[in-house]
Symmetry: C2
Subunit: 333 residues, 2 copies
């Protein structure tokens, strides 16, 4: 089965080199922001294939040493710079067990790039400040890996509508920036004063909520946060809600949307609308994106647009987004 | 293969009724505090069996509808009261797909108890105030299910040392209460004044950190919290650490302990010792518990002892542990 000619050549090479029919288990392994894209990757795989999979932090993966990891495993890793030590160690561990490894990174010559069987490159805008096309993002590349794998392991071949959708994604993101701009202008002055901001999502969008909480709010703005799963919200976390508490809710378009809608109703019933920032993908123009993948790409749209919100907050707090760190890359640990 | 005569009769009946060799995938499904025990259950399974498994919130499980869910799946569910609607719906959904279901609950006559193929009862102390023996807890029962399944699917038969260890657990917990009491007396006055308290753990203990964060700190004390994975800590969250920030770190005895030790070192390097509460299982007397299971039972010891810490905080805050709720079981939602 040939992959579409518009697929990323790195993805094609990695999948062509793989005996896909021999794969019995997929491990998605990374740390922090890169781990966050593994949740939507597993969500996509779960809904399209019976192939079992796990999502693990790199150090957890090595220390846990799952019994199922063997030569029939495919381990998909990601590190933007390719220098994340735990992720590189995870790749080496996986190969020592005979597993096949694919590493996603911006730097193919990096330690992670050298540690894996196959490198899939991607582009990231926030390291260089140069805008990218979303078809070249980590989300795009890992989705191509997942649905290529699905097609080659007896599942439905959705690679063409996927890649066509990914090529239509950047214009959708550009439109979303315009659509959400008034919302961000409205909420930023209030959210900039908050000491705690929670993010809420489920399904394909949970990873984006996780990443915004730990990499943006906590890491870059030193704001306390947690990504709350939209249904777990009702089993404890919702008790912190009052009229003053700030939440960012992502309402996606995947099959778990009703969970996010229920959280939305509750948040507005007992919180203040001015402290509940709702990003609703149903309000966006998704032209060119196959309805089957609109839910899968929604988190990338949320995350990309939320960067502008984060910069607004950073300006108001006079807390630099990319340089204000106490520890990360400033000290050794 | 016969299970030990000291195994719980409910577990034995459930496993005896199961064609274990036909099982291809295990789903651990629950919500909130009951979901928290599914993480250590999967950890135990991961380290002893190649059988693939997933941990899902009940509503996420139904909405996601994983492709792998079929008649070769075993779905293990838990709800203390058996009245958690999402978990009962998950059991019904699983059975509609032909999966086998085991439900853990204190109330076998509950909706969950009636919705599953097999009920495994357990005891819980915090509903009735009557002390229980830890061998009758949810942790004990789910661990028996997991290692019984491992033994009957071609894995090592560790059921006898497991059940012997579980029978030795309550005395270990009782000793831990004594051992941690001075620590709790020291830290409670400071932690009672905190608006944000993070919990940190990995491996078998992550679920206990999650449960203490969402069910105790957030739900019962309206204190902002997040359970931070001990290695994910270094990939964003650690930037919120300063001399004033409060953390509860669990140092367990499973194979991920080095991750928790690294977090410990960092927390003490840049935080204040007086705001970093460390529960170290290596300081405890684990007599009678097989070294192979000390890491697996550590989270139950942490969680059980931390209840006394929570009550101390509640007293100091004059915020009732079991009755002060805004929403849960007070309104319909």
């Amino acid at each position: 089965m040939n992959l579409p000619s518009t697929f990323d050549p790195g993805v094609v090479a990695a999948l062509d080199a793989l005996d896909a029919g021999a794969i019995r288990h997929v491990f998605f392994v990374a740390c922090g922001g890169s781990l966050s894209i593994m949740h939507p990757a597993k969500f996509l795989l779960d809904q399209h294939s019976p192939l079992p999979s796990d999502v693990y932090n790199g150090a957890e993966f090595v220390a846990r040493a799952p019994r199922s990891l063997d030569e029939r495993s495919l381990v998909i890793l990601c590190s933007m710079t390719g220098t994340t030590k735990e992720t590189t160690a995870a790749a080496e561990f996986a190969r020592s067990r005979g597993a096949k490894t694919i590493g996603l990174t911006v730097e193919p010559a990096s330690p992670l790039g050298r540690a894996v069987d196959h490198v899939v490159g991607f582009e990231a805008p926030y390291t260089t400040g140069v805008p990218i096309d979303a078809k070249d993002s980590n989300y795009s590349r890992i989705y191509q890996v997942v649905l290529g794998l699905v097609a080659r392991t007896g599942g439905e071949n959705l690679t063409q509508p996927l890649i066509d959708s990914l090529h239509a994604l950047q214009p959708a993101i550009d439109r979303a920036h315009v659509a959400f701009a008034p919302l961000f202008a409205d909420y930023a002055p209030r959210f900039a004063k908050e000491d705690v901001i929670y993010t809420v999502a489920s399904g394909a969008s949970y990873g984006a909520a996780y990443s915004f909480a730990i990499c943006v709010l906590m890491e870059m703005q030193w704001i306390n946060s947690q990504a709350i799963h939209a249904n777990e919200f009702f089993h404890g976390p919702f008790e912190v809600l009052d009229k003053d508490r700030a939440f960012i809710l992502m309402k996606g378009l995947d099959s778990t949307r009703p969970l996010e809608e229920r959280a939305d109703t509750f948040l507005h019933r007992f919180g203040s609308a001015e402290n509940i920032l709702v990003l609703d993908a149903a309000t966006l123009d998704m032209s060119g994106i196959d309805p089957r993948f609109q839910g899968n790409v929604a988190p990338l749209i949320f995350f990309d647009t939320l960067w502008r919100f984060a910069y607004k907050i950073a300006d108001l707090r006079q807390h630099e987004m990319l340089t204000a760190r106490r520890y990360m890359k400033k000290i050794s640990y």
